[in-house]
Every structure is written in C-alpha cells, then in structure tokens.
Symmetry: C2
Subunit: 222 residues, 2 copies
DNA sequence: GAGTCAACGATTATCGATAATCGGTTAAAA
DNA sequence: TTTTAACCGATTATCGATAATCGTTGACTC
C-alpha cells in the first residue's frame, strides 16, 4: 500500500512552538514583545494548554523568558550575553572545523554552494535569507563531524544569536561577510587540523560585537 | 516588616520538574522508566496540566523523551551519544580552564576543597555524593570564566551525562578519579593557558567511555 | 494452531471553565 | 496634595472532564 494518510499529525503544542520560533527568527516577533497565551490560542483555534506547553519549551530553549503570573516575552539578549554566545560558538566551531579537517571529509562543493547563496542574498539585501544560508554553511561543517550532541547544542546557540543579529548590518558588510567564509573552505582543504581550528575560531570572533562602553550592570530578574 | 510570608511560591510545574530531575539524577528513576502523567499528578496532588508542562521542559533539556500518544520515559543515552557528550564537554572545559588560567583567577583553595569532598565520598562509596562534588569542581572553573552562556550549556550537558554515569564505577576507581583532578589545579596555578587547556581536555577525554564493539546502528524513532 | 479483528483498559491530547494574581485606577482619608 | 485602600480589567495558573490514540486480549474464522 503506497502510504495513504499521514496518520500522525504533529501535536498542537509542537506546531505552535515552531510557528512562534519562526516568527522570532524572522523578526516578526521582536525582543521584548509579549506572548499572550489566550491571544495565541485564539489565533490558532486551540485552547490555552498547548500554548503553555509550547511556551515552556521555548523558555527552556532560552528564546523567551517568562515571569510568574506576568507572562512571557521574547527574550532580550544583552550585548554582553551576545558576546558570550560568540565566545562559546567560536570554541564549538573551531573544534568541528578541526575535526572535519582531520577526518578529511569532503565538503568543498557544498560549502562553496552555500557561500554562493549567501552572496546572492547579500546582493539582494535579504537579511533573512542571508542568515539562512550563513547558518547552512556552518551547519554543514558541524553535521559532518557526526557528533549529534554538538549539532544540537550549536543549533540552540545559533537560534539565540539570530533572534537579535538579523536586526542590523548593511548589505555591503554582508557581502564581505559572505566572502570571509572562503578562508574556512581553504583551511579545510589544506588539511591541517590545527590551522582549521584557528581559522574557524577567528572567523567567529571577528564578528563578535564590541563591548558596550556603558557601565551597564543590566539587572537580571529572578 | 521582617518579610512575613514567602509570597511567590514556585509554580507547580517547576516543582514537578525539579522533583523529577532530582529523581533522575539520583537514579531513583532509571533510563527507560516510564513517566505516566496521571500517576505523577496524583502523587503531587495536582492536575495533569502542570505535569505535562514539566515533562515538556525535561524533554527540551534532553533528559526524557516522549513519543506522540505513547508518553514519556527517561531517555536512554547510548554509548555513542555518551562519547559525543564527552567530546563536547572536553572542548568546553578546555576553553574554560585555559581562560581562568589566563585571567589568573584564584581558585586553588576552593578547587582543593571540592577534591577533598570527592575523596571522602569515594571512600564512603557514595556515588551520588561523589557525582555532586565532582560536578562542583568543574562548575567552579566554568563559573569563574564569568560566561553565563557557557555555564548554562555545560549544566545541561552535565545533567545528561549524570543520568547515566552514576550507574557504574567501583569505589577504587572513584578515588583515582578524584585524585586526577589535582593535575588541573596545578595547571591553573602554573599559569600557562595553553597547558591548562590541554590538561583539562585530556582529563575529560580520559574518562570518555570506550566505543562499543557491537555494530549497533541503534534505530532512533521519530 | 495461526492469523484477524473487534472490544477494552490505559494513557495521552485537548478543551472549557474557574481561581489566583498583577498593574493600574479611582476614590476616600489624612 | 499625598497616602491608602478597595476595585477592575487583563492575564496567568490550575483544575476537572472529554476526546483521541495505543497496545493487548480474547473470541472467531480458516
């Protein structure tokens, strides 16, 4: 029987989670925006319960934050946290890049292809599409390590970063950014794991935002 | 007024989450054990809703897994995944240890203290207490970097690891394991970041379990 | 005896309603 | 005018009930 019906639909809470995640990543929902349970429930024609489950997931992922009895809002990532995010990402990417170099996994054509997409998006000034292909580039490398744990960790970091990054940047610097990936491709090709490690680390750190000048000890609520 | 009542209790779902987490970490709940929503709800004298929210959080954290319409169970971490976990942890710990060395953050006394606790637990054969103080040792280093993102990431990895690790190990090897932390303390003290990085990485990798001989391509369900 | 299928018990998924809480606002009191 | 207190609308937290789904059991057919 050539599979008739898609028997198991996705649960409502998962659908809601994915929808909200998409809106946050594309910027339709911005940092600080409130997520009101009944509003979402009504929009999706469901009850409150699946919405709450979705919100809890998003909260655990770190993309929203919710205060007891006060509801949830899209998490505001401080500059300092963003910098920390880049530091950690740098380590993970360095490890992954070094590893795929050592294992001599052939990635050149796929990586080159994703850089093309990046450039195209950059020229079009499409920052969402750019983020998409940029993510693709790095995901190709991480996936190639075969380390599923690493991939999942990196995904959540990446999601967090992107909730805020795609707000800024001119199309000029986007093109430069796209081109800067070539160094990674070359390093992998060259076959020196240590070198690849360093190049990938530098690539991430080069884009790490500068520290705020202000003496902001941003108060974090409980 | 000397604060009368603890106004904001913790939400039920959070209480449930913490309780279940504790049970999983201490081994009261073992990998594969089912988590039946109504059973938990009845035990806690609540309804099903908060339990489901708690389960969703645990699922996102990766400590349980749930299949549509079939419920949740404590996640069974395969040997392969455990190995991947160690690989990633090794990178994070190496980074953290190198960084605190570079920053010359004084940690010796606190680290030494936690090693004492480890040894004590090892002699007593108390594997839960051992895991506790072992975690403490590493957390001290990670925390000292001041990188909150790194800490959170490391915490979730650590939780995952511990759901399974505390099943095994003899008290003899526990003592050796405790003593092996001294090398890290010494490296930090010596003040060479590169060396610290390497020592910390090796420390983790030395405990990475061996690969299974079996050609198990463990099927992962949707 | 092996295979098929309907009915059953257990459990999850979702709903609709109620209780509790928060922030702000008005109105009375000082 | 400032302070205090009760009130109100909006929203979250929790409950109890119902619908949908799964695995299994046991009778029935061949």
């Amino acid at each position: 029987m050539p599979d008739a019906t898609p028997l198991n639909r996705i649960s409502l809470s998962n659908q809601i989670r994915d929808l909200l995640l998409k809106r946050i990543m594309t910027g339709a929902l911005k940092p600080g925006d409130r997520l009101i349970e009944m509003k979402i429930a009504t929009e999706m024609s469901t009850s409150q319960a699946p919405v709450r489950e979705a919100l809890r997931e998003l909260e655990t992922m770190g993309v929203i934050e919710s205060l007891r009895n006060k509801g949830a809002r899209v998490r505001i990532i401080t500059n300092e946290e963003l910098r920390q995010l880049y530091d950690v990402r740098a380590q993970l990417e360095a490890y992954a890049t070094g590893l795929v170099t050592e294992l001599k996994i052939p990635l050149k054509s796929r990586l080159t292809e994703s850089v093309k997409l990046m450039k195209k998006a950059a020229r079009a000034g499409d920052s969402v599409e750019f983020a998409e292909s940029n993510t693709l580039f790095h995901r190709i490398i991480i996936e190639a390590t075969g380390n599923q744990v690493l991939l999942e960790l990196w995904e959540t970091l990446n999601v967090k970063t992107r909730t805020m990054v795609n707000v800024s940047r001119s199309s000029r610097s986007l093109i430069e950014l796209a081109e800067s990936h070539q160094a990674i491709i070359d390093a992998i090709r060259a076959g020196n794991p240590k070198k690849s490690d360093a190049v990938a680390r530098d690539h991430v750190l080069k884009n790490k935002p500068a520290a705020d000048m202000v003496d902001d000890r941003q108060a974090g609520a409980e």
